[in-house]
């Protein structure tokens, strides 16, 4: 494979034209146009564009979207501007899955089942405040693909802890002070596994480190009907305290350490996992992020790092990532 120097990314320019990414084509779908106000290196903007563009291609443009309040909504639609080239509705923070259900119901009632519906939001809007609506949408098997762009915190309001914030991470509400700095080691809240427990037709995870995998999963989801869930890990340079140019590399480290398992599931069962190609210790993922700096200085917290490593090892064993 023609990898780019110093990375495990395939260089698009080095590929034959027919194998090049559709995103390199001037004729590509363009669900979110440039000029929006996302931060430099925003993983959510990248993930949402690839996901929505893939959905537009998969549906031949017969697509409408419901969006939760959050970064994605705010940076894409500062009145009177909008980046969205697909019909798009923002209602509230906690109701995007239910709004999407309503949109799908309207399309069914109107006999326009060719028009497909996507609901989307960040981790706060999905795994916390919107969780009841999400679970209801799953349980009824409403014809919606819901995409969560998980940047592991409430970034739009200034980096507070969400139910998806990892243990030990510093946020504005889990400061790196005291005997146990950063976020607590709770029981965790794996929205993809909870989605899978609803036995819906399709559940998948993806990251912005493997955009073709993300595209393929969106395309696969759009071949199915009923409730589908896609959980995409997206880096947040601001909230994670990482360089904008490292967004994709850090997302890749999340997968290669085992901290973020990439898998697919159907009707309650895990059906495929993306194996780790180059195993890395969690330290490699934690060290470049300022939200974990207190694990390395002033004194190294090897005890805490070991607990994080244990979580990664559990994922590796559980999903068979090696």
């Amino acid at each position: 494979m023609p990898y780019q120097t110093g990375s495990f990314a395939v260089g698009n320019r080095l590929l034959p034209v027919e194998e090049r990414t559709t995103q390199a084509s001037a004729l590509r779908a363009n669900a979110i146009t440039s000029g929006h106000r996302a931060c430099q290196g925003c993983g959510e903007a990248l993930g949402a564009r690839y996901a929505l563009d893939a959905a537009v291609r998969a549906t031949d443009g017969r697509l409408i979207a419901a969006n939760a309040t959050g970064c994605l909504e705010v940076f894409s639609t500062p009145y009177p501007e909008s980046s969205w080239q697909v019909p798009w509705l923002h209602s509230l923070f906690g109701n995007a899955p239910a709004v999407a259900t309503g949109m799908a119901a309207a399309m069914k009632a109107k006999g326009r089942t060719d028009v497909r519906v996507i609901g989307q939001g960040g981790d706060g809007g999905t795994v916390d405040i919107g969780f009841a609506c999400l679970s209801g949408m799953f349980e009824r098997n409403d014809d919606v693909l819901y995409i969560c762009y998980d940047n592991e915190g409430y970034m739009n309001t200034g980096v507070q802890r969400s139910g998806a914030t990892p243990p030990a991470a510093r946020t504005a509400t889990t400061e790196a002070v005291g005997a146990e700095p950063g976020n607590v080691f709770g029981q965790g809240k794996s929205a993809p596994l909870i989605a899978l427990a609803h036995e819906i037709p399709y559940v998948a995870t993806a990251t912005i480190a493997d955009l073709h995998d993300l595209e393929a999963k969106v395309e696969r989801a759009m071949t199915l009907r009923g409730a589908r869930y896609l959980h995409v890990l997206v880096t947040c340079p601001l909230g994670w305290g990482a360089a904008a140019c490292d967004s994709i590399g850090i997302a890749r480290l999340a997968t290669q350490t085992g901290l973020f398992p990439v898998f697919e599931g159907r009707e309650g069962d895990v059906t495929a996992v993306t194996k780790i190609r180059r195993p890395e210790p969690v330290e490699a993922y934690l060290r470049p992020q300022r939200r974990f700096r207190h694990l390395f200085e002033p004194e190294p917290r090897t005890d805490v790092i070991a607990r994080v490593q244990a979580r990664a090892d559990r994922n590796i064993a559980r999903f068979g990532l090696l």
């Binding site: 443009g61 017969r62 697509l63 409408i64 419901a66 969006n67 909504e73 705010v74 639609t77 500062p78 009145y79 009177p80 501007e81 909008s82 969205w84 080239q85 697909v86 019909p87 798009w88 509705l89 923002h90 209602s91 509230l92 906690g94 109701n95 239910a98 709004v99 999407a100 259900t101 309503g102 949109m103 799908a104 119901a105 309207a106 399309m107 069914k108 009632a109 109107k110 006999g111 028009v115 009841a132 609506c133 679970s135 209801g136 349980e139 009824r140 409403d142």
Partner: protein, 420 residues
């Protein structure tokens, strides 16, 4: 039968049915396309009725969604309405509060959702019975609020509500007294499908999510235009002050009976004392007015049928010749007093009319003719306080006020039990 209506239009189907059933069948006649449903007393029978009608296929194509909360019910309506469907839901009390965020959102987005509120008290203490605390808590949310006096009016006003909502692209709440109306079996005249179809054309949205003409709806608006956008909601409500009587007039032409509108006076022409009220109380009130009239008192009643937008001119012209106005209301703004009363005072500003607030019927306490008679006698004698609580058990209150601590509701219930 009302005079002046062409006989040919009067096809009647009289039935003795529960108020909720009548509303369900009427909403069905309005051909809803998406219904978001969640149970809460005393609204539940309405969505139960609709569920059965959808299940038989009689309403096809209609999607009935059993959601997981009232917040989701209104959110489903928001999504469906924005996608161009005629949408309906019903709720009450805690349910209305639980969906409050989405209630404001629906009006902000200008979506013509129609919702029945089966009026019920709000806790704590938890109470399932009728008063207007629920709808009154949402009086400033940007929805039109129509209050109905009877099951026939409930049925008629629902048909008008869809027309109003879709004509102005704004949501409409039809408020009907929980249990008193929703669970009462009354004779109603249900229109037939052809009549409703003639009155209510298919929904043609002003804005819609359509891949052939992509729109972004629900953008973030900063200080540069927020006030202007909000003002448009107010302008629409002012428009509704004209549209509501117009639609009531069109309804009368099609169905041969008068229903809805902004206000309705009862023997107010020469009245010195006028009692203002909303909803089903009007029935009892009119009986009391008749009795007092027989005794020589010049008393009248005014039904406020549309509370939002506030029909200040109509209220003013209906009450402007009275000496005193008594506002009997089934809600109470803690820390100040009457809610409707404040609105009435605004409408009567500068006219020198004495306005008194009477809070009555909270949490389902019966408002009896005897209590109203007694209260009115005191009012006419000039003995009524500015804020009166009808049939308040002051001994019970006084005893609890003397206690240094403890759970009030439980203490008072124990006191009541001790009296037996």
């Amino acid at each position: 039968m009302a005079a002046g209506f062409p006989a040919a239009t009067l096809r009647r189907m009289l039935r003795q049915i529960e108020g909720s059933r009548a509303v369900a069948e009427t909403v069905a006649l309005c051909r809803p396309e998406v219904i978001g449903a969640y149970p809460i007393s005393p609204q539940t029978h309405i969505v139960e009725g609709l569920s059965a009608l959808v299940k038989t296929g009689a309403l096809a194509p209609c999607e009935f969604i059993n959601v997981e909360s009232e917040f989701a019910a209104m959110s489903v309506c928001i999504g469906a309405s924005a996608a161009g469907a005629r949408t309906y839901t019903a709720t009450a009390s805690q349910g209305l509060l639980y969906m409050a965020e989405a209630v404001y959102n629906a009006s902000g987005l200008g979506l013509p959702v129609v919702m029945t509120v089966a009026n019920r008290a709000i806790g704590s203490p938890i109470n399932i019975w009728n008063d207007h605390s629920d709808a009154m808590s949402q009086r400033d949310c940007g929805w039109v609020q129509l209050y109905v006096e009877s099951n026939q009016e409930a049925l008629d006003v629902h048909i008008q509500a869809f027309k109003l909502a879709e004509r102005l692209s704004l949501p409409v709440m039809v408020c009907m007294d929980g249990f008193i109306l929703t669970h009462a079996f009354e004779r109603v005249d249900l229109p037939d499908q052809a009549q409703v179809d003639a009155f209510l054309p298919p929904y043609s949205p002003r804005q819609v999510l359509d891949p052939d003409a992509p729109l972004s709806i629900g953008a973030m608006v900063g200080p540069e235009a927020f006030a202007e956008v909000r003002y448009l909601m107010h302008a629409k409500q002012i428009e509704a002050l004209d549209a509501i009587p117009e639609i009531a007039g069109e309804f009368a032409q099609t169905f041969g009976r008068a229903s809805g509108g902004l206000v309705r006076g009862y023997r107010t022409e020469d009245a010195e004392t006028v009692v203002v009220a909303l909803g089903s109380l009007l029935g009892t009130l009119e009986d009391v007015v008749d009795e007092l009239r027989e005794g020589g008192d010049r008393v009248g009643a005014l039904a406020v049928r549309c509370f939002r937008p506030w029909p200040a001119e109509e209220v003013s012209s209906a009450l402007g010749r009275a000496k005193r106005v008594i506002v009997v209301e089934k809600a109470f703004a803690v820390g100040i007093g009457g809610i409707v009363g404040l609105n009435v005072r605004l409408a009567l500003e500068g006219l020198g009319i004495d306005v008194r607030d009477v809070v009555a019927g909270l949490g389902g306490r019966a408002i009896t003719a005897a209590s109203l008679r007694h209260m009115l006698a005191r009012a006419i004698a000039g003995e009524l306080e500015p804020l009166t609580f009808l049939d308040m058990d002051w001994a019970l209150v006084a005893r609890e006020l003397e206690r240094p601590h403890g759970p009030h509701a439980e203490n008072m219930l124990r006191d009541l039990a001790g009296r037996l």
